[in-house]
Amino acid sequence: MGTADVEAVWRIESARIVAALTRFTGDFGLAEDAAQEAVAEALVSWPLASPANPAGWLMATARRRAIDAIRRRTALQDRYALLATDPAVDEEIDPDRIDDDVLALMFVSCHPVLSPEARVALTLRVVGGLSSEEIARAFLVPVPTVQARITRAKKTIAAAGVPFELPPAGERRERLGGVLSVLYVIFTEGSTATSGDRLLRPDVAYEAIRLTRTLAALQPDEPEVHGLLALCELTAARFPARTGPDGSPILLEDQDRRRWDFSATRRGLAALAKASTRGLGPYGLQAAIAATHASAPSVEATDWDRIVVLYEVLGRVAPSPVVELNRAVAVAMASGPAQALAIVDELIALDRLPGSHLVPTVRGELLARLGRRPEARAELELAARLCANQRERSVLLRKAAALG
């Protein structure tokens, strides 16, 4: 077995191993270290001799490394005595318990004591089974930065005494919201890269979708989990049509809708149906908007009135200037650019999105549609100066130049 085989087994097993070991040792940081040591050993020994049961091998090795680590900690003698009784035996994983433990692992990785960057890194590492190198590639940061974030995160969790358990009922909904926002951040990084020279990084988006599916399987009664899954699937369905052969972005109105991934759309609509049984939350509403696009044959034939209503509801449930800006775009399509411009100008008057390239982008488009070309051009040039994604920036400059 080669490196790729080890990585494959690790991706399938990592969350379960770290979860089971955390339960077993009560120490998340130690469990994660032990699991990493086991993978490192597998990378050396599996190419020489493939184990008959790779998953069991990883679990047993990680467990031994955890015991070794505990042995080194003299302060934990009592726990060592408990563990040392049978260090070589594989513990059967109890399927009922492991589900809760994997879920607890997600809650720990997304714990509010951690910085947002640390939550993302830890979730991808311990729940997603990605290496520091893979995470660094996904977020375009140096590998040592990722390693430092993870090390610091583990210390923070230990220092804060974060328990390895599902959050109490009173905090559950809020903490689940925290997990969802981490998954959404990961997805967004893949669907609209905040920096770099590529618009889409489908492999990053894929990790988020996969983790969201896991969460949906573990928390099937939470509508917003299905809402987020629907949003991710429906957004990813458009990926094949969103960039040209040279990687340049293709806007919604110019996309060849035949290239949309039909099966991803179908999965997204199925998830949305599950989300909408008890009223839609912010993710479900965004998914409903994406679903409206998904079922439209063209931009002109899109039910923009419905999209305007959905943005209005979203603006009440989860008020944000970005939602307002999107509502303005929908209003422009439903009722014309003049009404939309009023919404954008109000955002600017209240300075709700300072420094964002999105406001001048939309304002420039609206002015262009109103025939106010010099003003439109100035706005698009401003947007290009503010935009950090090179691909988006060149589109903005092209549009500005076309306005003469």
Partner: protein, 126 residues
């Protein structure tokens, strides 16, 4: 991301072995499906009915010819599939090794190319 199809190929013997303890087989398959769902990789799974209940449409001649029953003389019969969304072929292989398949059967692993690998030439019929 590439998808992989795990195609179950049974023989008469493996199918008979499976039918001998069908309830256990169904329970194990159900658990396996749950495991794949919890890993976020399962996109679809179906088991197929007895090939004798099927039909074959043959395009060798000018008009399609329909015959009842299984296809040709083949010894290994397509019995069902799992469609997976995984990061690598190795991961598809790793899942395939965990399928509670009957002794004597085989699993064929085939990659489903992504939309971005399909030719974009407008002359291609889609």
């Amino acid at each position: 991301m590439p998808k992989y199809l795990l195609i179950m190929r049974g023989t008469d013997e493996s199918n008979a072995a499976m039918m001998a303890s069908i309830e256990e087989g169904i329970a194990r398959t159900r658990l396996f499906i749950e495991e794949m769902m919890k890993a976020g990789v399962l996109l679809g799974a179906e088991g197929l009915d007895d090939p004798g209940q099927g039909a074959v449409v043959d395009f060798s001649g000018e008009a399609p010819v329909v015959t009842d029953g299984p296809y040709g003389e083949t010894k290994e019969l397509f019995g069902g599939f799992f469609l997976l969304d995984v990061a690598s072929k190795q991961e598809a292989v790793e899942w395939a090794k965990r399928v509670p398949a009957a002794p004597g059967s085989k699993i064929e692993i085939r990659r489903v190319p992504g939309e971005d690998e399909v030719p974009q030439d407008s002359t291609v019929q889609r």
